[in-house]
Symmetry: D2
Subunit: 345 residues, 4 copies
């Protein structure tokens, strides 16, 4: 059985294991106050061209999202997000668990627009009963989105403007940031992100680390006392250097983006094979997640040898499914799938 | 500089790195639903002689404590604990962050007694205004305690009885469980723990894993839907197998306890050296943490070559300090310290 | 200016003031443990034919909703509700503030159906990733709804069945319960409510009390230790008897329903006047709230003498507005409005 | 049976009932946006000489405390308070329910000192592990304390200074403020309070209102968006004018302090009678709560005709008990008690 279920099916880049072995008997202070975390933060500031950014390393995405969001909101504020946003759908209410409502807006291909956000915020503040409603306090976007789609730079700049006008921090969830930056047609560069988002995170878990997300506060004032928040939310890794070491490796010589590019290329081979076989797609995804719409019997036949996620029922005979590639996906796995796609039609 | 500051200064047992390398390209499902976690859970059930126990793997101790405690309490209940308990002092209010009060009782050498707990619970339930007070809903103990001391089996059985009589789950924080089980004079066996505690955790982070704590529900009904709680609290590791793999190694051939024994022996060498030099101790600790009371100038002199934590001011000229050994402490480090202790007196 | 903005514009039934005066110098224990609360609870059990019900008196609706809901849910559970439900829209996230997500379903005229709830719950429990999503833990309905509409008895029985099948408590918000029970065409009797809902509340604030909501647990096991929850949520009135005294008066000789009937009749006069003038309505409401759709200039003209709430923009020239009557609405106010409606067309 | 159990045993000043009756059929907007609240706020600003203060009216003390405290703290901060403070002991963990730890300091006669607070705050901020501990974020005092004692003006000014130096708001719980201001030897004037506290509340419930506490933000910036917080915490009374009307009456012609003086005088008659009979006291209280230490058989004898609270066991034969007087305590009740005290010795 070959798995295409997610981008966290394997361990990590072998270079990370090497680095862990080399550093294993070093004695360092815990909780992220070690030379590896310091160096990795420097590398991130350099690559993202954000010399003043404050960088913190957390273990996972749900933890990063809930910790960042709850640190930025006042008690009566909520976070604006697409109805398909990960925090609204797939984090077991971690944001609400910290006391805050997720203010979900209708999404199109996983995205929301500056105009939607503006309308929502204006409507709130002009409502006579606004104090009876949760105040929009920040905006959360995913880049790429949960549907593999991408905001353009212009779309992001427009959202940034609304956020600034209404004094709402903009937070970008980059669990799959690399796959986005390496997507075909992406017009966003690493250096753009700190200029767009007040805070964003660079995903490690889905991009070849064992685990770890690097939270970057481009607006450093928002990170005031953030380490208290990390600890309170159970996200402060005792052997914090493990995070530093991994991000040192990921950003050492372009590994992060190079590996992401590999995943996107493999995804395109799968996309092209389905397209050649006549399939349509739930969305046009330029990243490492592909959502072909297949007949149920075709799905069943493919499932004999491949594992992948059911995404959405389309009609009685068809469903959209999800194939995900990663930094680790070998040619052989994709070859086998492409061959099978040909057969099954 | 040689560090004796904690038991999480180094990486991990080399065997763990070997196992990570061997398994690196395996494809497994995420979130703990993989064969490694299943096998590690089986090993724990076998070693602790708890065939019905439900085992979950979390990343860190604060996370494990807050997740377990908040899953067991009703909104108006609090957790009874020693005033020196980790959840009361050193977790940035993670328990309160979930909405629950820590009900701290005066501690003696880091311990509380069955009698104290009984008095407190009885006083609550016989108070006419009890509904105006937080109801004691469970009991939290640390084994060993934050001061390196140990409860005896009889003390634990007495506390267990109070907990049963008042229908309060008993939760034991075993962040350093191995160092306790291998302590001199410890009369508790692994198989005793599931009979005493409704839920306890086996610390990995401080006992030679990169990270990870194995939460064992000996009363499986209390673990109902626990995975939802893990996810909501940001504790569900995407590549959950990393936890399974580590605990497989730790429990493979007695490594867990063997390594703990090593740490305790090293700690005793340090203890004996201080004792020989005439030092007294804050507590009599039979485990890997030692708390000698030293003159301030002696502390300053030792700090030129060794790093260790200040613990408590004793008087204008003296303070208690903490030396911690671990599975990783080499003879050479202890030799150097022992020699230095002789010199400085 | 005559106000039709809500049903809590005036003080209270004069009989309540009389009762407060008569009891003023009685000495009673606080916090609801007084003879008036006991008697009022008995009256409610009698009238609603629920001899085993547990009755608690709270001060307001948001407080009652958040306290009941948070007392019934496990940390990872949410409350299913119509997207137009008061807890989702107009309580400043009070439910989320207690850590729980509101799981909003699309509503039709303010209502959701048993089928919708069933689909949602089944989808959750059959999802492979369900532990990554908030578990539906209870259902919240408003009777009447925020749009003045009513569930039929059959609709409620169907929802009750889904709730029982999936072990989810059913909670009915009766802030305007009396206006519902006295609505034209209502087929629900007071005695039906305890058989349908596990817990519901009888609104006082909007029905002629100074304040106060009577929470009735028809399933008394769900009320275990509920007074702790009330106190923790800041809802335990020191002079609790004020609540008992008011509900004694409301249920003394049919005042509660008689006064509600008055409000509904006044609302129908307004409805009929708008209908006669050719207006259409946002919904067909059989209760004390009416939502005519009016031209903007007509709205402006009416606003010169009457105050009422804007509800929803319909198109560039029209909006739905809300007129609310109450136990206190005098004939003269409605006469004036009816006359004005005739004029303005 | 004559009750001396608390100062909220009766209804309210008759003038309040008169005012409720007079205003009963006025139509006003809800939620505190009515002329009565506006006027009462003006009166408070005038009497307390705080022209810029922002005033909000809440229903009860626990609600006021939790709402104010949670609005002022960052997630990782706690509130410093005496171990005998109401929020620590008698509010069912309402503060913790909002996610914040109560940082309890040892108290002397119900009071804490500026020096204690300074030591605690300095210790926190100089601790290497401070991020692992809850940060002190504000200070809570009760005036008078739960033991009836009073801070002097100098003590308060010293605490204020520590709070300013460390940028922690100072919040004073004035549930019994009037009884304090009218205490013998009190050197605090109403106008001093806004200069000392950033926010304080003026108790109504225990001082002759049916209910209600006036929260005064002398530092108005701290009240930003406070109405959202009130609503979210279930404290926004629909018929908010009831609060305004009551405080209008209380502050109309000195009623508030005049009635408090009456209570204190009655308390002193009780104190003097016990003193004459040879009793000692748990504390020297200059306010309306008195805590004589009595023999158990004397307590039993008094309980045949009088009801009062047990406070603290002193030894096997003696206990401290609490007698409370109020604005409503008639001479006859005190006469009867004084006579009984003479008899029973």
């Amino acid at each position: 059985m070959i798995l295409f279920e997610s981008d966290y099916l394997e361990g990590c880049h072998p270079q990370i294991l090497d680095a862990l072995r080399e550093s294993n008997l070093e004695q360092t202070l815990g909780y992220g106050e070690d030379p590896h975390c310091a160096k990795a933060a420097d590398m991130i500031r350099y690559i993202f061209e954000a010399p003043d950014a404050e960088v913190h390393f957390l273990v996972g995405g749900t933890q990063a999202n809930a910790t960042v969001i709850s640190s930025l909101l006042k008690p009566y504020q909520g976070v604006v997000c697409a109805e398909s946003g990960h925090i609204h759908v797939h984090e077991t209410g971690a944001v609400e668990h910290t006391g805050h409502k997720v203010l979900a807006l209708p999404a199109r291909d996983g995205k929301i627009s500056a105009e939607q956000i503006l309308d929502f915020v204006q409507a709130h503040h002009s409502d006579f009963s606004r104090e009876h409603m949760v105040q929009p306090g920040m905006v959360y976007l995913s880049l790429p989105t949960e549907l593999g789609t991408l905001y353009t730079k212009d779309e992001l700049l427009a959202i940034r403007q609304v956020c600034r006008d209404w004094e709402m921090p903009l937070f970008i969830d980059g669990a799959r940031l690399g796959y986005g930056l390496e997507a075909s047609g992406c017009d966003i560069l690493p250096k753009d992100l700190p200029k767009i988002a007040d805070v964003f995170y660079i995903g490690g878990t889905k991009q070849g680390a064992l685990f770890g997300e690097a939270v970057v506060f481009s607006t450093p004032a928002l990170a005031h006392d953030f380490r208290y928040n990390i600890k309170q939310n159970g996200g402060m890794l005792a052997k914090g250097r493990l995070l530093g070491i991994q991000f040192e490796v990921l950003f050492e010589d372009g590994l992060y983006l190079r590996a992401a590019r590999h995943a996107v290329e493999q995804a395109f081979r799968i996309r092209d094979a389905f397209r050649a076989a006549g399939a349509s797609f739930l969305v046009e995804s330029p990243t490492n997640q592909q959502f072909p719409i297949l007949a149920n019997d075709e799905i069943a036949r493919l499932r004999e040898r491949f594992s992948f996620e059911s995404w959405q029922k389309i009609d009685g005979d068809h469903a959209a499914v999800r194939f995900v590639t990663s930094w680790a996906t070998p040619d052989a796995n994709v070859d086998a799938l492409v061959a099978a796609i040909g057969e099954t039609r």
